[in-house]
Amino acid sequence: MPHFTPCYKKPYILFGLFICCLNFQCISDIELKDNFEGSFVVVDAVLKQSPDDNDLDSTDFKVKLGNTLVNAKGGFSYQVPIKNEKVELIINQNTTIILDQTSPGTYYLKDKTLLKKGNLYQLRFTVGEKKYESTVETMPDSVPMSKVYVDFNPKSPPQAHQVFVDVNDVPQVKNYYSWSYRVFEKQEYCSQCYAQLRAPAVCREDLFPVFDSKVSVSLVCGGNCWDIVRNKTVNVISDQFFDGKLLLKKDIGYVPYNFYTGCLVEVQQMSTTGGYYQYLQLLKNISSGSGGLVDTPPAVLVGNVKNTQNSDEKVIGYFTVVNTTKRRIWIDRKDAAAQSMSPLSFVNPSIAPPPGANIPLYPCVQSDTRTNKMPVGWRN
């Protein structure tokens, strides 16, 4: 059972007690206690195609296989890669392509030209003696975004630029859309030395002879460096109510007002299959909470992959193919500055190094959240 902590109680007064039940909602964090011993196969496989090759990168042709293991005694859950297995992509039910393992549990489709709209794709793989296969997915056609734009909203917590898209929906076709975005923020400082911890390793005492105060010191990047922030929410819609019409001002997320300087937003729109749309809806429901007054109970996140020898085995995740388009937009943040708003700032760059300190530069380490390559569309 979950462990409960006391709930914060608001001192409502007489008239405030009346009416809105939502005002009496009290939400308190409780720690998730995993209570299950066992494992589930997890399939994370969304292969992408785009009319513009520049809109794709290597992460768009990967199939990740893992085992979610849950340790009942330890009370935690972790995911381990499923390594060295045979992973196949079946195209149009007659051509079999074997995917290469590029890192443990990650299998890669080398020839990205094999992904074409209208083609049928199916994933097959083994885990030991067990054989798994997905349903057959059809690559949808892509639909371009007609416009991407932002509005600064000083009220939304936190103060941020809201990102919107307009899309002209194709009539007489069932279309399902999903959006993701990445925000590139150029970084002057790549790390910090903390007064008490002295981490990371470069924060040696001999480099900081006067570093005994309680302040922290920011470390300047050793070259160009951009932080990458991704959306964490699932943004999905079907054209059930706007078939053939303009999807206007679809709110897909926000860019927090972190710095005075500008940033780049890269919006990716995915045209998906109906089955994957439904799966994304499940993820959306779960990630946005499933316990409110009007929420539906959470669903089992079993997707379209199953064990061919044991259909009762629950396989988590989804294999699909999507057609994507990308648009990039530069936000100069002058509108925010004009309102005399102060940026929120991810890393506090204002702390000057103490006098006499021999501050080393900190390298820009490549990762999912950081890059030293100038993103397409960046403005200096």
Binding site: P2, F4, C7, Y12, I13, F15, G16, L17, F18, I19, C20, C21, N23, F24, Q25, C26, S28, D29, I30, E31, L32, D34, N35, F40, V42, D44, G66, T68, V70, S77, Q79, I237, Q240, F241, F242, L246, L248, K249, K250, D251, Q278, Q281, G289, S290, G291, G292, L293, V294, T296, P297, P298, A299, V300, L301, S311, D312, K314, I316, G317, Y318
Partner: protein, 795 residues
């Protein structure tokens, strides 16, 4: 996997056999029971010569009993009135008029409100709860609003999923399995403000009866229980007024004769418009919030002559709730959601007496329920509207016949449904397509007969048989699917088109009802009841509690009627000269064709909703114990219920056709242990105190088994539905009624009601939910809620 439904010939044979019982010749005593103002008293109990069988006055206050030649004592009792015992000589058929005296002091009334001495022992019905307005007004409630549904929750066998619940669950049934009647008109949405307050007008309700075990055969159309709420009959002799104001609402009721002795009218209204105070409380939280509700009820009675009486009842209920917290739908560019829903009911009733032992009652019912979800678009003067409606028209008639100890009822019902399942109205929006789902039309008919009689001095019977027949009409396009595969767009084989008025699907069957009472001695009895009920309309919703906008759906080619069979047994014992009343009941109920939902079901404007549904079965069982003290300055009750409600959904071999691998799992409202206590203390003529305490096992919820990563984000992984329970619920409430004027002869009376709901501020979780690796509890009414109400009465 199906519960086998068998129409047991035993019941039909027994029923016919019971009808053939013969008795010795006797004379008829026809009585009329009124109060001092000449107003008819319906529901009074009538007993002849301390006989075992207790009769009841009908809605006009009339009764018919038989007696042999000679002297007889007629005992007449009714809540809040002094018992009358006229002694009469019978030499032929006789007519009497009994005038009852009401207890003057309003606070004293509460002492005897639940007193229907020994009736619980004598009646051959099981699982019937009665509650009247005066008891309801003693039960402390949130914000001081007298609330029928919350009052019923204090009784055994009645539960909900939580504080904000749009309906009640009775003996393991879902909320839509209860037939809720307000003066014979069905209520499709029983609460205001998403479950915070019930829609029954607090000052106009006379009494409510909840049939949870033995349901008379005149009721049909729902599988679990019947809540029969009666509006007070109009006064024919003198003016009455009642009103009050609380933190939530303002209300007023006028009850007055129009033509003295012939025509009267009752008009009652309640409205809540206090939401203008919300921004004062918290501008940040309530800037976009509006919350208004109200209902009005008008009842007109007309008695042109001794043989005919007419009633016309109208009821209108309206809610408007606006919030910026619920988000938008689809591509509609809106930040505010407005829930606007209304109910309009009419009932026209005619009573006709053919002769002293034969009368007929005929009713025409009209109901329109219209929920709307309105989304104002940002930056433009336009509102996009999702709307639906339930139209219900009913004609019913029954004959009441009394002969040779048999009290019989024979009749029919014909109910016509016209349901608009959904319509999207974009109005001026250029980016939204209009969408209208076709009307669903159907007719449900029923024939019924029931009889109450004694077999011997110890055995009494209440037997009934109903036959219901349902027809689903075109125009409609009915999809046919590949057998044994999940119903989906991919498994459609053909579409069959039905023209307007053409019958697309029929269902029907017998519904036997039986109640038996065996008297052990003067103070105790054993009872047995069996019920079969068929339900042809259900709510389609996959939220924990139905929303006002949830879709109602009648049975069709793919959605079968719910069929429920219930068996219950009870022991009834009174102590200390009927000062204490105890009941012990046990029941088992099996229900077929309950609805559940596929994962990620999209029910909004879904033209082929069967593709989103799964069919299953339910089994519910439990034991209910109650002890009540019904006389004296200190009254109250204590009840304990052990109950289970389990579902099984195994609709096919595919994973998507099953829930929890086809195993039994607890229903959302499965709460095994419930303890309720109500204590009422009449300190003196001016002060009355009441306490309620409730404890129940937490309801089930679905907790995750782990976390997994997908597309760069962590998500909790859920495996089995309802595999955990939220912590147990408990709450203590208090109310204090202060009568400020109490002078004999004065017609104005007023009193204050002070109440504290959730005295110790227990933060009972309503639900628990998860985001990534964290979980959250949602609590409603997590603080003590103080309220004050002022009430005024003129009579």
């Amino acid at each position: 996997m199906k519960n086998t439904i068998k129409i047991n010939c035993f019941f039909i044979v027994l029923f016919l056999a019971l009808f053939s019982q013969t008795h010795a010749q006797s004379f008829i005593i026809k009585g009329s029971v009124k109060n001092k103002e000449g107003k008819n008293i319906a529901g009074a109990s009538v007993r002849v010569d301390s006989d075992n069988y207790v009769y009841e006055t009908d809605s006009l206050g009339n009764f018919i009993v038989s007696a042999s030649k000679g002297y007889h004592s007629i005992e007449i009792k009714f809540l809040s009135f002094l018992t009358e015992r006229p002694f009469i000589k019978v030499v032929s058929d006789t007519t009497i008029i009994v005038t009852m005296t009401e207890v003057v002091n309003q606070l004293e009334q509460a002492i005897i409100t639940a007193d229907r001495t020994t009736e619980n022992i004598r009646k051959p019905v099981l699982g019937v709860l009665q509650i009247n307005n005066k008891v309801l007004k003693r039960i402390p409630v949130a914000f001081g609003e007298t609330d029928l549904l919350r009052g019923l929750q204090m009784l055994p066998g009645v539960s909900t999923v939580g504080e904000a619940s749009n309906g009640i669950n009775v003996r393991g049934g879902s909320t839509d399995q209860n037939l809720l009647l307000l003066d014979d008109t069905p209520i499709f949405n029983p609460t205001h403000m998403f479950g915070l307050f019930s829609v029954f007008p607090p000052d106009a309700v006379n009494r409510a009866e909840l049939y949870k075990g033995n349901v008379p055969s005149r009721f049909g159309g729902r599988a679990s229980a019947v809540l029969d709420v009666a509006i007070e009959n109009p006064a024919l002799d003198s003016l009455r007024f009642e009103g009050g104001i609380s933190l939530i609402s303002t209300r007023a009721t006028v009850n007055t004769p129009i033509i003295k002795g012939k025509m009267g009218i009752l008009a009652s209204a309640r409205g809540s418009f206090m939401d203008f105070l919300l921004p004062i409380v918290s501008k940040k939280n309530f800037e976009d919030t509006q919350a208004k509700f109200g209902e009005t009820c008008v009842k007109l009675s007309y008695i042109p002559n001794a043989k005919n009486t007419f009633f016309l009842t109208s009821y209108y209920s309206k809610d408007f709730f606006q919030t910026g917290l619920l988000g938008t739908i689809g591509n509609i560019n809106s930040k505010i959601t407005q829930n606007d829903y209304s109910t309009l009911n009419f009932a026209l009733k005619h009573f006709h007496t053919f002769k002293e032992n034969l009368s007929m009652s005929t009713s025409a019912i009209y109901v329109d329920y219209k929920p709307k979800l309105i989304l104002p678009e940002v930056g433009v003067d336009n509102k996009v509207v999702f709307q639906s409606s339930v139209g219900f028209r009913q004609l019913k008639s029954n004959i009441d016949y009394y002969k040779k100890g048999h009290q019989m009822k024979l009749g029919f019902t014909a109910s016509y449904y016209s349901i608009s399942p959904g319509e999207l109205v974009p109005n001026k929006s250029p980016t939204i397509n209009p969408l209208t789902l076709p009307l669903e039309k159907s007719l449900e008919t029923g024939l019924f007969v029931e009889d109450n009689f004694d077999i011997s001095s110890r055995i009494s019977v209440s037997a009934g048989l109903r036959y219901s027949y349902f027809m689903n009409f075109g125009p409609s396009d009915v999809r046919l699917y590949k057998p044994d595969l999940p119903l989906s767009d991919l498994t459609v084989t053909s579409i069959k088109t039905y023209n307007s008025g053409e019958i697309a699907k029929t269902y029907g069957g017998f519904e036997p009802r039986l109640g038996l009472r065996y008297t052990l001695n003067k103070s105790s009895s054993l009872k047995l009841a069996y019920n079969m009920m068929r339900q042809y309309i259900q709510i389609i919703t996959n939220t924990t509690t139905p929303l006002p906008t949830s879709r109602w759906k009648t049975s069709d080619e793919h959605i079968k009627p719910v069929v429920s069979q219930a068996l219950s047994i009870g022991w009834f014992k009174n102590f200390s000269e009927n000062r204490y009343e105890t009941t012990l009941e046990a029941y088992y109920r099996a229900t077929d064709n309950i609805l559940d939902y596929k994962q990620g079901a999209n029910l909004l404007l879904q033209p082929y909703v069967e593709t989103e549904l799964l069919e299953g079965i339910n089994k519910s069982y439990g034991v209910e114990f109650m002890v009540a003290k019904k006389k004296g300055e200190k009254t109250g009750w204590l009840s304990y219920t052990y109950s289970r409600s389990l579902n099984q959904v195994n609709d096919g071999p595919e994973f998507s056709q099953r829930i929890n691998d086809g195993k039994w799992f607890p229903a959302n409202y499965d709460r095994p242990h419930t303890l309720n206590a109500f204590y009422n203390y009449n300190f003196n003529k001016f002060h009355n105190f009441s306490f309620t305490f409730t404890y129940s096992t937490g309801r089930p919820f679905t907790s995750p088994k782990g976390v997994f990563a997908y597309q760069g984000t962590s998500y909790p992984f859920f495996d089995e539905r309802n595999n955990s329970r939220i912590p147990a619920y408990n709450r203590l409430d208090f109310s204090w009624n202060i009568l400020t004027t109490i002078k004999e002869g004065k017609r104005w009376k007023n009193y204050w009601s002070v109440s504290v709901y959730n005295i110790y501020g227990k933060g009972n979780p309503y639900s628990i939910f998860y985001k990534e690796r964290k979980s959250y509890t949602l609590k409603i009414f997590a603080v003590p809620i103080f309220s004050l109400a002022y009430n005024l009465r003129f009579e």
